[in-house]
Amino acid sequence: MSFEHMHIISMKEFTRDMIDHVLEVAEEMEPIARSKSGSDLLKGKVLGVLFFEPSTRTRMSFEAAMMRLGGEVLSLGSVDASSVAKGETLADTIRVVAGYSNAIVLRHPMEGAARLASEFSTVPILNAGDGAGHHPTQTFLDLYTIKRESHLEGLKIALAGDLKYGRTVHSLCYALSFYGAEITLVSPPELSMPSEIIEDLKKKNIKVIEADSIEDAIQYVEVLYMTRIQKERFPDPAEYQKVANRLQITPEVLKNAKENLRIMHPLPRTNEITPRVDETPHASYFDQSFYGVPIRMALLCLVMGVFE
């Protein structure tokens, strides 16, 4: 299986075998990421880092992955200072940066930006989020976290919070459907999972349960995936507060949890999980953010042709 020169735009381009392969390579990378001693797998290679909107965590995780493997990072810097502020098209920026680098990681506020970039780039594009569109490396790191901290096959998972606009949960559901899963959805009605996605999952023989509260789901799920609820989604601040309070994870909410429950969150969190949960054996969100490094190491090595 060769990923060389492949663009990583959306999870929809991956079969189950391809996903499994990426996760296996990430497992090989994990000791390098953990030991912090570095390797020279990507020595002499340059990663172009183009972030047209801030996402510090994703950017740092890509840069850490590249640097730990001995590669170099070439960053766009702040957008106002660059030629983009002078009105250069994304197509031109990509053509120029492709000339300097072995792969480009792109974050852009507009949907379809990564697809467009792939049409103009002579090197692989890794989509690090395009507006409300795709963010495949987040999905890969979520899957990797589930694999390492729990199990992928036939997982009982609850997704809670903003299931309407949260693209990461849509993409995660899609990927989990390869492994068979029982998915419980917990969200306020105004942020519930779009019905097309639920229908789609049911067609793939995925059991979908809509629960009223986290307490209901917590007794049987193995993974609880929390997402951020954004204040801007609610016209009324009081309504936001009510929803935020009802979906907050505290040690008390976890009273009836299964022993092997793992809690995930894409971070940064606001008030969805109180810091008191961090000390419980259920907290996996900091491991999850660490796993972003080996998974990005794996993807970088694969698209640059270092591994088959």
Binding site: G87, T89, L90, A91, H108, P109, M110, E111, G112, A113, R115, L116, E119, D130, G131, A132, G133
Partner: protein
């Protein structure tokens, strides 16, 4: 008077040009828009709206002295997948074609997602995959993946 004779009165046959028949009822004016036919265009254009047909109602557009190019036929197929294009030469139907529904169109429709990269100043044409669902046309943007299934005529470029 026979049914055939009645039709003859409504629209005269044309000498040479194109008859677009079996247009989805109500779409004739959008067909004219696609073809850039305004009141000041040259040539005779006849339009039938809500004409009776064996499948209920249909619209018909007859254009004297003009044959369509494929991009025009693509656009017509999106708003009226059942239409037929008859090319007339010397009062005779030379060719009769059902508009084929293309599987893919480029530069024909504008994406409805204002935040789609295809709506910015990039050097690209919009592109859509075309699907039919229960006889209706659905367009999926090749960039942002947003689906257009209603009022496609409003989004033609």
């Amino acid at each position: 008077m026979s049914e055939v004779a009645k039709k003859e009165i409504r629209v005269q046959p044309i000498c040479s040009g194109t008859v677009i028949d079996h247009i989805t009822a109500g779409q004739a004016l959008n067909v004219l828009k696609i073809l850039g036919i305004t009141g000041t265009s040259w040539g005779i254009v006849s339009i039938l709206i809500n004409a009776p047909s064996s499948y209920g109602k249909k619209d018909v557009v007859k254009i004297e002295g003009r044959e369509l190019v494929s991009s025009e036929v693509d656009k017509i197929s999106l708003i009226s997948p059942g239409a037929t294009i008859n090319i007339i030469r010397d009062y005779d139907v030379q060719e009769k074609n059902q508009v084929g529904i293309p599987s893919h169109v480029e530069g024909v429709v504008k994406c409805i997602n204002p935040n789609c990269i295809s709506n910015s100043n990039e050097p690209i044409e919009s592109k859509f995959d075309v699907n039919t669902r229960e006889g209706k046309i659905e367009l999926r943007c090749g960039y942002c993946e947003r689906v257009i299934c209603e009022n496609i005529a409003d989004h033609l470029l």
